[in-house]
Amino acid sequence: MLYNEPSPLEVRVLTRRFGLPDSASLDTYLAHEGYQAFQKAVKMTPEAIIEEVKASALRGRGGAGFPTGMKWSFVPRNSPKPRVLVVNADESEPGTCKDRLLMEYDPHQLIEGMMIGGLAVDAHRGYVYIRGEYRYLIDHMDRAIEEAYRKGWLGKNIQGTGFDFDVYTHSGAGAYECGEETALLDSIEGKRGIPRMKPPFPAVAGAWGLPTLLNNVETFCAVPAIIRDGGAAFAALGTPKNGGTRLLCISGHVNKPGVYEIPLGFPMMKAINELAGGIPGGRKLKAVIPGGSSCPVLRAEECDIPMDYDTLMKAGSMLGSGGMVVMDETTCMVRAALRIMKFYAHESCGWCIPCREGTTWLRKILERIVEGRGQKSDLPLLGDLAKNMLGRTFCALGDAAAMPTISIVEKFPEEFEAYFSGKAVESAARHEPAFVTA
């Protein structure tokens, strides 16, 4: 059973097998073009595979949006050290719930994407790092991997091609920071998930110091389609430099929240109003977090834009990991800011001072404001402290905490004023729903 009904507005490439009977099985996969891309890729040169990925204009779906083909080309294929492949399935960005579906409904697509990545960089081992909360998915992936081995789609001399490839799952244990690729690498090595200094980049020295090809689940899942149908065909689905489709996770105040596959450049308002069925009760849109809680918030009037990496960047936010959180006019932005900061304070690894102390301090101030003990000077203080974190922390988590805060402080000062004057406090103290349930 699918988590949400598909929409006719979707362009289903990665999700096209979703909803098929027994979609996770190898037989279903094979019956629907499964492993054809691998058969094609195995006859291609690594350079040609990477060129095809470059031609697709695929950009990393984990959040940073780095061009995938370029990332693949950085892995030294001729290194005397063996290459490894790591899939980032630590999906933890608030608002994001797509990798889960890709693994649940079409695990072989991910395995095939990994195999093609293995061909491209001459790697023969791949690890899927799955967040600990997704235990059922780890078991599910293990079953799919086991089936692939059993039927000769993993292991030695796959289907007589001479290509060897092993896939393993690896469980996380609850740490948002491990979604940061170098922290993930430390985690997979059995350590605390503390990000690493760069350079060296993972492509050169990643897991266990080996050259590592590391991408998000969705990124790898896009690869079979790219190889099978050609990079150009995939690219054509999106906009220039923003190739293909991506999975958009819509949550919050909409009538039909869900995960929808849409081409890059899909209009944001259309996504809210048509894909997701609009805002309940005919209420007005107040704000949107376009790509997961790390992205600066957009006010309603800023949302009439196409969703691609570059436009979002121009709008002062980010496309991120595809977690679009819709907030209607009943939303209290101060409490939203508090909840987001509570998350970052909880998840800060603590390695560097500005993030460790900054997130906690900001959380405390926001808590105090919501409890009615705020004062006018807190507003500029929040902004200034967030800016003291911005760009100064060891990894991007500090920025991820600072940016939404800065945007909410700057775009919704009147909501803070309401707390300072006592108007907004009463309902918060009584734990009354400040939000209308959809």
Partner: protein
């Protein structure tokens, strides 16, 4: 590190054009140009963290502030370390840091020498905008030595690195995460009663920039500015670490090496840092004692000196038999004076000390070849180090530290031949297990690897003695690579004792004497000794004295087993209570400076002088400077540059030229086998060494 011509780059820091070798970290390049880029987590010689973010600087054309401690300098780089943006960043970071810092500076040990105080003073804001509750965690005691106050901790990870990388122990780690992150000791329990099992060296405490790690010995004793600081040499093992003793009102209350000078830099082990406490142990002898029946009676110094001198003169006049046993810990001046007293004043060659390593055979085998004796620095710089028959980390902590630093900084290859697992196994290129006596045979197993090394420093323990030393040198010669040696010895002046001729067959500078006297063992077994004069040694701890009627004079700090047999006991001053020079295991001469004074005691040199004066014999003026001058003029190898020694430096003695015709009896050479937590007599009277939970060698005796 030897490097071939390094490429230099030109860059500009704060308008100053500087040249720096390519690859230098910006923070270091700036420091050399006299510009401070502040940092907490950056610490020279240890791995980079980029965690504290204090070193962020503006680099033109970079999109955001750059990390000064990890950024290598590049050609044409233009850096601003004091721009408004940088100032704001530092102020912001310090403000963040202070949010959970308790600001209990008035009662903090570190107050007055705290890096956080200094940073806030220089770069911070005058006021705080933080009005929330601070996080609190109760202080924990992890060992008799180490206390941890988590709220004060700024998480710079220096302690973790110094313990892991520097000491090779790895007893500290990081627990929890985010704002609740804390330093963890290696023994973590579910009920939060964490404790440490480690070297207890206190390096973590010393390197802590704030008062998060404090020592059980020093905490709440004083304000730092109330102390005087006396730079001297540790009196315990033979490595000769410089230690700075913090002294208030004549009491030593702290040991560290705060100026990082000397052969050890900032390194000290538990003994150098804390085991000065024997000085004021309640059982310390503070009056001369005279045997009356089977007990001792306190007598004045004048009576004691008169009694000793009278008996010495009487025996001498009667042509009686003297025995003199010297110390592994007394100064060169005292050792020189004592052997002169024995040979010229008493007319005896029966002088010896407990030999702890076969240095004389090594010198003989080397026959005076130049540059064959390693310095402490050589152990660090060497491309390869071979350790034979010694648990180096336990017995020679500085030398082990040097080898580890070499591995860390320039991939020194360490080889071991030991009877069991040792700490060096963690990072050694190869290790061979060999039972005592089998070391030389076992070396063959390493021949192929060693022959490929460009150079080698060999350190060997007391298992290698007599012919084994010659075999070792032959083996090393056959490798056809430059080799230097360290003959490992036990105590602070074991080397000086041999050099100064506290041996029955060799005088100062290894000059053979005409009629060799009795060795230590022979003296103990001689039933006809009239006088046995024992200075700073405890040979009767586990052996008996044959001479029932022997008149025994003992100079020592405590009523040892040997002192209990004495007729007269003279209370001596320890090395922390006198001036002079010591020679370390590598033959490096260093100055000791008086830090404390214990009532009723006298330095051994003064005691010798007073006895000589009372006997009306002339052995020389009992001033250390006069004696040192005489040593420099007359003892082979000791013509060391005075300014180096006088200013607290270490000057290696020159090798002895030609053969050393020693009559050494190898079976008399034995190391006491002290560990990190023992140190002969002084160790037995150190409360700190007795208080730590770690039993000697426990950590490394097994897996």
């Amino acid at each position: 590190m030897t490097t071939t011509a390094v490429e230099t780059v030109t860059l500009t820091i704060d308008g100053k054009t500087i040249q720096s070798p390519k690859g230098t970290l910006l923070i270091e390049a700036a420091r050399k140009a006299g510009i401070e880029i502040p940092a907490f987590c950056y610490y020279e010689g240890y791995s980079l963290q980029a965690a504290c973010r204090m070193c962020l600087v503006e680099v033109e054309k970079a999109p955001k502030l750059q990390v000064g401690c990890t950024l290598p300098v590049a050609e044409g780089m233009i850096v601003h370390t004091d721009s408004p943006q940088v100032q704001k960043a530092r102020k912001g970071t310090l403000e963040f840091l202070l949010t959970n810092h308790p600001l209990d500076c008035p009662v903090c040990d570190k107050g007055g020498e705290c890096e956080l105080q200094d940073m806030v003073f220089r770069y911070g804001a005058g006021e705080s905008r933080f009005t929330e509750m601070k996080l609190h965690i109760d202080e924990q005691q992890w060992s008799p030595v180490v206390f941890y106050d988590a709220p004060r901790c700024i998480l710079c990870y220096r302690c973790i690195r110094v313990c892991d990388e520097g000491m090779g122990v790895g007893a500290l780690g990081l627990g929890n995460r985010g704002a609740s992150a804390v330093i963890l000791p290696n023994k973590v329990t579910g009920d939060n009663q964490h404790y440490l099992s480690c070297d207890e060296c206190g390096a973590c405490i010393d390197i802590c920039p704030v008062g998060a790690l404090t020592s059980g010995i020093y905490r709440y004793q004083t304000r730092p500015w109330e102390m005087n600081h006396v730079g001297t040499i540790c009196t315990h093992c033979s490595n000769g670490c410089k230690t700075t003793l913090g002294v208030r009102n004549g009491r030593i209350i702290r040991g560290n090496n705060r100026d990082h000078s000397g052969i050890n830099g900032e390194f000290l082990c538990i003994k150098g840092r804390y085991a000065f406490d024997f000085v004021e142990h309640p059982e310390r002898l503070q009056s001369p004692l005279k045997r009356v029946g089977d007990r001792f009676e306190e007598i004045p110094w004048s009576e004691a000196i008169e009694t000793v001198a009278a008996r010495f003169s009487e025996v001498k006049a009667a042509g009686g038999k003297f025995g003199v046993i010297g110390s592994n810990r007394t100064t060169n001046e005292e050792n020189y004076y004592l052997q002169k007293f024995a040979r010229q004043g008493l007319g005896t060659s029966n002088i010896d000390h407990q030999r702890t390593g076969d240095l004389t055979t090594l010198l003989d085998a080397l026959q005076g070849r130049g540059g064959a004796l390693a310095t402490v620095a050589d152990v660090y710089h060497a491309k390869a180090v071979l350790i034979v028959g010694s648990d180096l980390s336990q017995q020679h902590p500085l030398l082990a530290f040097q080898a580890r630093a070499g591995v860390r900084h320039h991939d020194t290859r360490v080889y071991t031949v030991t009877p069991g697992p040792v700490r060096e196994d963690k990072y050694s290129a190869r290790g061979v297990i060999a039972q005592p006596g089998g070391e030389i045979a076992a070396l063959e197993g390493l021949r192929e690897d060693l022959a490929k090394e460009p150079e080698l420093v060999i350190l060997f323990g007391d298992a290698i003695r007599g012919d084994a030393v010659r075999a070792l040198v032959r083996f090393a010669d056959s490798l056809s690579i430059p080799v230097k040696y360290v003959c490992l010895l036990d105590y602070a002046n074991s080397r000086g004792a041999v050099d100064m001729g506290l041996t029955p067959d060799l005088g100062p500078g290894y000059h053979p004497v005409d009629r060799p006297g009795l060795t230590l063992d022979q003296m103990l077994k001689a039933s006809d000794l009239d006088v046995l004069w024992i200075v700073g040694a405890n040979p009767l701890r586990n052996r008996a004295l044959a001479g029932e009627n022997t008149f025994v004079v003992v100079q020592d700090l405590f009523l040892t087993e040997t002192a209990r047999r004495a007729d007269i006991v003279l209370p001596a001053a320890s090395a922390y209570e006198k001036n002079g020079t010591l020679t370390n295991v590598c033959g490096e001469v260093q100055r000791v400076t008086q830090a404390a004074k214990v009532m009723g005691t006298k330095p051994d040199l003064e005691i010798f002088g007073l006895i000589a004066r009372e006997m009306k014999i002339n052995v020389g003026i009992w001033q250390w400077q006069k004696m040192f001058e005489e040593i420099r003029k007359t003892v082979r190898g000791y013509n060391v540059p005075l300014p180096v020694v006088a200013t607290g430096g270490a000057a290696q003695t020159n090798p002895v030229n030609g053969r050393v015709p020693s009559l050494i009896r190898p079976e008399e050479i034995r190391s006491a086998g002290d560990t990190l937590f023992t140190s002969g007599t002084t160790g037995r009277y150190s409360n700190v060494l007795n208080a730590v939970l770690e039993s000697p060698g426990r950590l490394y005796s097994g897996k």
